[in-house]
């Protein structure tokens, strides 16, 4: 799933729930799906430790020089 697609779907679910157009079972389904989406979308905003990799003819290697930027960025 792409983040923006998930986000769009979640917004749609919330809108439907808020509009009251869903019946009880649909409401519960929407809620369950929404919770699941929230979890997945939230996870997509977390991630591995940020890094800069240099990719050239010698392959890929971690660029240490940007380590200091982490603190600035944080």
């Amino acid at each position: 799933m792409k983040f923006e697609e998930g986000l769009k779907r979640l917004e749609e679910l919330v809108r439907k729930l808020e509009s009251g157009e869903l019946d009880l079972e649909e409401s519960m389904d929407a809620y369950r799906e929404g919770r699941e989406l929230l979890q997945r979308l939230g996870a997509m905003l977390e991630g591995a430790e940020r890094q800069v990799w240099q990719v050239d003819e010698e392959g890929m290697r971690h660029l240490e020089v940007f380590g200091e930027l982490t603190e600035e960025a944080g």
């Binding site: 792409k2 983040f3 923006e4 986000l7 979640l10 917004e11 679910l13 919330v14 729930l17 808020e18 009251g20 869903l22 009880l24 409401s27 519960m28 929407a30 809620y31 929404g34 919770r35 929230l38 979308l41 939230g42 997509m44 905003l45 977390e46 991630g47 591995a48 940020r50 890094q51 800069v52 990799w53 240099q54 990719v55 050239d56 890929m60 660029l63 940007f66 930027l69 982490t70 600035e72 960025a73 944080g74």
Partner: protein, 412 residues
């Protein structure tokens, strides 16, 4: 008769004729001449510049007066052997007895290269435009949340540091892949093209191609046809980020998105994580409230339904039956009463009739009952034999009798 001497033109006269001939000839009044500079004399007291334009086997003397020089910004004299283009008019310098170019404008070699370059730029631009490489329909949307961001730029430039800092500030988990390339100089085009190709194969989700600001010629590589085509054929969306806001390159036209600066590209390439988290938090709240509200609505409707349903509950049904029964009972009661009344009335009437039928009352009118054997009332003579004892009941008292005679037939 004129002497030969008198017939001859004076030097001034012939020079004037030549001057009139040359200076009165319009094509000489505005000429563009190219050539190699030689014999430069920067005349200090006056500020005039003297030099020659050479070509193999020909030479043209030139002078550029101080006023023209200043308005043209030609402060440094051209170098020996420099290729230049001079614009001006041809005039005759009587005192030296020669024609020369009075230079009003001078294009130095650097400017000429730039000029050539701009012409070439326009040609490339026209060609790529004709191929549809600048069409807005070709522009691909940028991924909303790229995890792997590629950057083609100089590994030593400030632009890279700026971009990394901004990307991480906005979206800390972003992974950045640098595809290093020389961004200026003779090898720049080749390097950039190779780096773009590598980035495309590497599987980044979006690619920033650019460099920080610099002089126009330092951005040249980003105007090359090769770089333009590499960007166009890159399998992932490309953001161009070359120089300053005012710098436009062909890379900008062909890229999916043009960022005015590398920093702006970094702002464009990732969303702000905090903002997304805030949006998710908002949606989480609304989702919860939404379903709660939905449940409340249902509960309320259920309550209403229950109320309506309760009216149909067996208990209530029974009550209503009871009521009906009560009603029926009442009706029955009254009916019974009425019946009883009727009955009583009937009984009275019957009583009267019975009274009328009561043999006793007949007896009172003179009739009597004859009881045969077993005290059975006798209705026919044959029911008794001669000699039988019979009992005759009278209205008052009875008579014990013996049958002495029998007669047939009904009494008339």
């Amino acid at each position: 008769m004129q002497t030969l001497f008198e017939l001859a033109l004076s030097v001034r006269e012939i020079t004037n004729l030549l001057r009139q001939r040359i200076e009165g000839h319009p094509p000489f009044q505005d000429v563009l001449v190219r050539g190699e500079v030689s014999g430069v004399k920067d005349h200090h007291p006056t500020g005039h510049l003297y030099f020659s334009l050479r070509e193999e086997g020909a030479v043209l003397r030139c002078v550029m007066f101080q006023s023209w020089r200043r308005s043209n910004g030609v402060f440094d004299p051209p170098a020996e052997g420099e290729e230049v283009v001079a614009q001006g008019y041809i005039g005759v310098y009587e005192r030296e007895g020669r024609y020369q170019l009075y230079v009003q404008k001078l294009w130095r070699s650097q400017e000429l290269r730039l000029g050539e370059y701009y012409l070439e730029l326009e040609r490339v631009k026209a060609r790529l435009a004709a191929e549809g490489l600048f069409d807005s329909s070709r522009k691909r949307p940028l991924p909303f949340l790229p995890r792997r961001i590629g950057i083609v730029t100089s590994p030593s430039g400030a632009a890279l540091r700026d971009m990394v800092r901004i990307i991480w500030r906005r979206f800390p988990p972003a992974q950045i892949y640098l595809f290093p390339a020389l961004v200026q100089g003779d090898r720049a085009v080749e390097d950039i093209v190779r780096a773009i190709g590598r980035a495309g194969r590497w599987g980044v989700e979006v690619l920033i191609v650019g460099r920080g600001g610099g002089a126009a010629e330092e951005l040249w590589a980003f105007n090359s046809e090769e770089v333009a085509r590499a960007i166009a054929s890159c399998p992932v969306p490309v953001i161009s980020a070359v120089g300053h806001e005012t710098d436009f390159t062909i890379a900008d036209f062909v890229a999916d998105v043009r960022a005015p600066t590398p920093s702006a590209a970094a702002e464009t390439v990732v969303p702000e994580r905090e903002e997304l988290l805030a949006r998710l938090a908002d949606l989480r709240g609304r989702l919860g409230r939404g379903v709660a509200r939905s449940l409340d609505l249902r509960r309320e409707r259920l309550r209403l339904l229950q109320e309506r349903l309760a009216l149909r509950h067996p208990r209530f049904l029974l009550a209503s039956r009871q009521q009906a029964l009560d009603e029926l009972g009442e009706r029955l009661g009254s009916a019974v009463t009425r019946l009883l009344k009727l009955w009583r009335q009937g009984v009275e009437a019957l009583g009267l009739r019975l009274e009328a039928l009561n043999p006793v009352s007949i007896l009172s009118r003179g009739y009597s009952i004859c009881l045969g054997p077993g005290d059975r009332p006798l209705r026919r003579a044959e029911e008794a034999e001669r000699g039988d004892r019979v009992k005759v009941i009278l209205w008052e008292g009875f008579l014990g009798c013996r049958v002495e005679e029998k007669g047939e037939g009904r009494w008339k």
